[in-house]
Symmetry: C2
Subunit: 222 residues, 2 copies
């Protein structure tokens, strides 16, 4: 094999990973998988795709080395092949956010809270939790919370936030998080809480980043 052939083959392999990242539906699947392992039909439901279509997307992700399947009885569970994939995804987001004009426009239009206040850093949150200074809300759906969450966080899905309001100590700051840096749930939660006059902020990024930073987590199964 010649040197230039090798180079071409190698870039072709790298491109396979790029291609896998080149589709909105697959990126959404990856975001869900970053929360926890999932079966094919769970993924299909949550992403709003047909079963066969979801399966095919997952095959592509598998060939690109981004996910790993695990068979258990009738079901097949997929998970990210490693935390490197989370890093890669966040990198993609960062580049897009900084250099694609349309992303900034979108974010500024929809996430009006966006630049209102800097999100709370993971490390900082960790300290405040230890000192009992904050209430941490996990605003993801219960299944995702159950599969793993920030240690000490309370699960309050967005739809239950209203009902939960009076249980919150109004003197404490509330910190909300969800799936990742662009997950809408936490933004919405913070907006709602502030409207009610509470002190609320977002945590930076989301659960996957917290976990892959090696910070303390809990899950309902354990």
């Amino acid at each position: 094999m010649s040197s230039s052939e090798f180079k071409h083959d190698l870039f072709t392999q790298f491109a396979r990973v790029g291609k896998a990242l080149g589709n909105a539906n697959r990126l959404e699947l990856l975001e869900f998988l970053a929360q926890s392992e999932r079966s094919v039909d769970q993924l299909a439901k949550v992403a709003g795709l047909s079963l066969a279509n979801t399966s095919q997307h997952l095959q592509q992700l598998r060939q690109a080395g981004l996910v790993i399947p695990r068979k258990e009885g009738l079901k097949v569970f997929y998970r990210l092949s490693s935390d490197e994939v989370i890093t890669l995804l966040n990198n993609l987001r960062t580049v897009a956010e900084h250099h694609v004009a349309d992303v900034e426009k979108l974010v500024n239009t929809y996430l009006t809270v966006k630049d209102d206040l800097e999100p709370l850093l993971r490390q900082e949150l960790l300290e405040r939790v230890r000192d009992g200074l904050v209430t941490v809300l996990d605003v993801r759906p219960p299944e995702e919370y159950a599969a793993g969450h920030v240690a000490g966080a309370v699960n309050v899905p967005l739809s239950h936030l209203e009902a939960y309001l009076d249980k919150i100590n109004p003197d404490q700051e509330v910190v909300a998080y969800c799936r990742g840096p662009h997950c809408v749930l936490a933004f919405d939660a913070v907006a709602q809480l502030r409207k009610k006059g509470m002190k609320a902020r977002r945590m930076e990024d989301g659960y996957p980043e917290w976990k892959s930073a090696g910070l303390p987590v809990e899950s309902d199964s354990s």
Copy 2:
């Protein structure tokens, strides 16, 4: 705009960046651009593509926010939009290398030197250069060397290595680098040097990573 519409639009934008990374030729263009700013026809020549085709690929990269054009007279020079892009590319490579079986196979087949000896870390190299313990070889083509290189490195393109051999102090270790972690030139150089009985190693990664780590560089224009 609804929340799920927003999410979909956002993922579509992220996917645009992914798509841009999903083609071997574009990845090759990006690797060249990581060395230095380049005009369209330089890129076309070095990548072995037609001019029109190169131009179109560059437009796609521009729309994905990965490169920025600068017009000067007749020519248009492209460059990476930021060092974040280098990080993203290396991330892509890392994931591919760790999780795509074919990549490992390719690398092991062609880069036989690969696991022979760990590459020298940037930081370590920096110290040894300061102490005058090593000869650093930049085995890239002269244009790339001229546009910027590791401070103190000597430019010896692979084709000139043979002729350069007797100028090297045989008691010193030789460290070679080129375009990045998978650039073949440095592997070949090290193999040739060892065959002649010299002590030779690769530097980790290549020039772009050295530069974006903020380590000392030189260029011929300055």
